[in-house]
């Protein structure tokens, strides 16, 4: 199963004036993989992610996402990826159902498909009873899982999660990671950035960015061995130093 490279990047670079925010990064992500994209604030994570999701044009280098060129075919890429940011990306003044319908609508799903998806999501997340309630009234953990489900309303091949668990308590974070595992089991590729080093342990493979470059890329266990560290936290500290 794990032989398709859904993300493949070579010497991808983003330059703002003299400053190289992302400096010749190369890596690939396999289908169904949970790929952790780590780095301190300002290391270039967000910029790299923006290039992969078609929000920003690379200055040089090349790459494909879901089989399409990041330079020329960003529109095609957008149809095949899901995206969720740490801000949860739902409309608080819309009900749960309205949010699902809206996002289904903008991804061009038919009325029928939207109906099916809506009941499916509500059932899976046990939200059937609050389907007609405003998102504002839901607890944070529910909102977050709903946002994750909504980001996959169009069955994307890859889901990009930009610090999805920022500012959430550990219990909710664990629940959220369960949802991520479920999605990965369905063959979906998860590309996730995070601050929390304990979460890095949950990933299949992890890359660590330091000032625009990828300094390490391997499975969490291999990384710990290479850097002779007890935890990912230690690995990260050794690299960042």
């Amino acid at each position: 199963m794990r032989n398709d490279k859904v993300i493949q990047v070579e010497a991808l670079t983003k330059q703002f004036g003299d400053f190289k925010a992302v400096d010749h990064i190369s890596f690939h992500v396999e289908k169904g993989e949970i790929f952790g994209f780590l780095g301190a604030n300002g290391a270039g994570k967000t910029t790299a992610m923006r290039m992969l999701t078609g929000l920003s044009k690379p200055s040089s280098g090349k790459g494909t996402v879901a089989g399409f060129d990041v330079l020329k075919e960003s529109e095609r890429i957008k149809e095949r990826i899901g995206y969720m940011s740490q801000k949860f990306s739902l409309y608080e003044d819309l009900t749960v159902k309205e949010n699902i319908r809206f996002y289904g609508g903008i991804y061009g799903l038919s009325k029928n498909q939207i109906e099916i998806k809506t009941s499916q999501i509500l059932q899976e997340l046990n939200l059937s009873e609050v389907g007609s309630k405003l998102v504002r009234s839901l607890p944070l953990g529910w909102k977050q899982r709903l946002a994750f489900a909504v980001s996959m309303v169009h069955d994307p091949e890859i889901v990009f999660l930009d610090e999805p668990t920022g500012g959430v308590d550990p219990n909710v974070r664990r629940q959220f990671w369960e949802a991520i595992y479920q999605a990965a089991e369905l063959g979906r590729t998860i590309f996730v950035t995070t601050h929390y080093m304990d979460e890095a342990e949950y990933c299949d493979r992890v890359s660590i960015m330091v000032s625009g470059k990828i300094e390490a890329l391997d499975t969490p266990d291999n990384l710990k061995e290479t850097f002779k560290a007890e935890s990912m936290d230690e690995v990260f500290l050794k690299l960042a130093r």
Binding site: S85, L90, Y91, G105, G108
Partner: protein
């Protein structure tokens, strides 16, 4: 494509209908503004209190004082005894104007001798003072005609003036076009910049940009509901003007509506432009209030005439869209002109709209690069 657009517009209507603040701005503000301008802000005076210093104290001076009061504009508050008391009432803010009638008024009046009536007004309120002096002059002239009943002197120049297009000098003729210009600007520009800034603030803008929706469609979907609502608002204000304040629509109705639509587009493009320069709703609010509301209200010729402003302000006034729209409205509504009379103004608005759209597009591109 149409379906996606519809999904977007529907969602936008949910936002509007569920936000009390937006609803208030949308429907409360136009009504409040029209009614405030219509009923409260007016230059017409009723029963302005005046003091009279009557040195003559004869029959004619009494008749003159009565004549002044007969107009309904003035009411005599006090008869003063000496020159020393002139300032008193004015300092207290009660008296707006003091008329002083010279000795031998009756005699000189009927003998045809020149008479000087002294009028003292409260200059701390210059607009009102001017209006009151005008009233008084008019009443004095009519008194003269009434009492002397003589043929006008054949050697003097008589000025016969007539106010075309607004014979009664009703202030509604000015404020209805002005209010439409302001309301459309506020609703279109402020609310669109707010709503786009809101999506940025809560992070949904990013999601929309990552989706296959084209940026153009996102913007169109966001502004379409506001365009529709503000257009409805313009029509409401025109109707209130027509039925409540009797402001006529002499020109072609279709042309008028078309012009409103053009201005809505200009205001929307301005709103979009503002939204590309801000990150938060608060910023958007500040920019549209300070950058649009204030100048449009003060420098568009709505309240103060452009021609009498210092050169710099006059130039600022000339880059404000409302200036041109008010001219168009007055032309079409009050003077009943056709498109050929307002081509210049229409051209300016078109160029402005295009300019704002281009600027927004450039800002947007830079952000993506």
């Amino acid at each position: 494509m149409v379906k996606v657009f519809w999904a977007f517009v529907k969602k936008e209507f949910y936002h509007i209908l569920r936000d009390k603040r937006t609803l208030l701005i949308l429907f409360g503000m136009p009504l409040a503004q029209v009614l405030i301008f219509g009923y409260a802000v007016t230059n017409e005076f009723r029963d302005a209190e005046i003091d009279v210093l009557d040195y003559a104290k004869d029959e004619t001076s009494e008749q003159y004082i009565n004549h002044l009061q007969s107009s309904g504009n003035f009411r005599v508050r006090r008869i003063l005894a000496s020159q020393n008391e002139v300032e008193e009432g004015m300092k207290g803010g009660k008296t707006k104007l003091v008329v002083s009638i010279p000795e031998n008024f009756s005699e000189d009046f009927y003998a045809g001798n020149p008479i000087k009536i002294q009028v003292v007004t409260d200059g701390s309120d210059p607009n009102n003072a001017n209006t009151l002096v005008q009233y008084l002059t008019e009443m004095t002239q009519s008194f003269q005609r009434l009492k002397r009943n003589e043929v006008p002197n054949p050697y003097s120049i008589q000025v016969a003036s007539r106010m075309m297009y607004n014979p009664q000098l009703a202030s509604a003729y000015n404020f209805v076009p002005g209010t439409i210009a302001l309301i459309l600007l506020i609703i279109c520009a402020m609310l669109t910049s707010l709503t786009i800034a809101k999506e940025k603030e809560i992070g949904t803008m990013e999601i929309l940009l990552v989706s296959p929706l084209s940026p153009l469609l996102i913007i169109l979907g966001k502004v379409a509901p506001y365009a529709l609502l503000s257009f409805v608002n313009a029509v409401i204000v025109i109707l209130i003007g027509f039925f409540v304040f009797e402001v006529p629509v002499l020109g072609n109705t279709l042309l008028l509506l078309g012009m409103c639509f053009l201005y809505v587009l200009t205001a929307l493009s301005l709103g979009i432009f503002i939204s590309t320069t801000v990150k938060t709703q608060q910023e958007a609010m500040m920019k549209s209030l300070m950058g649009l509301m204030m100048p449009s209200m003060l420098l568009s010729g709505f309240i103060f005439p452009l021609a009498s402003m210092p050169v710099i302000l006059e130039y600022i006034g000339k880059i404000i869209p409302a200036t041109y729209f008010i001219r168009i409205l007055k032309g079409v509504m009050l003077r009943g002109v056709g498109l050929n009379f307002i081509l210049f103004e229409v051209g300016v608005l078109l160029v402005m709209t295009l300019g704002f759209l281009l600027l927004s597009w450039r800002n947007f591109k830079i952000r993506l690069e």
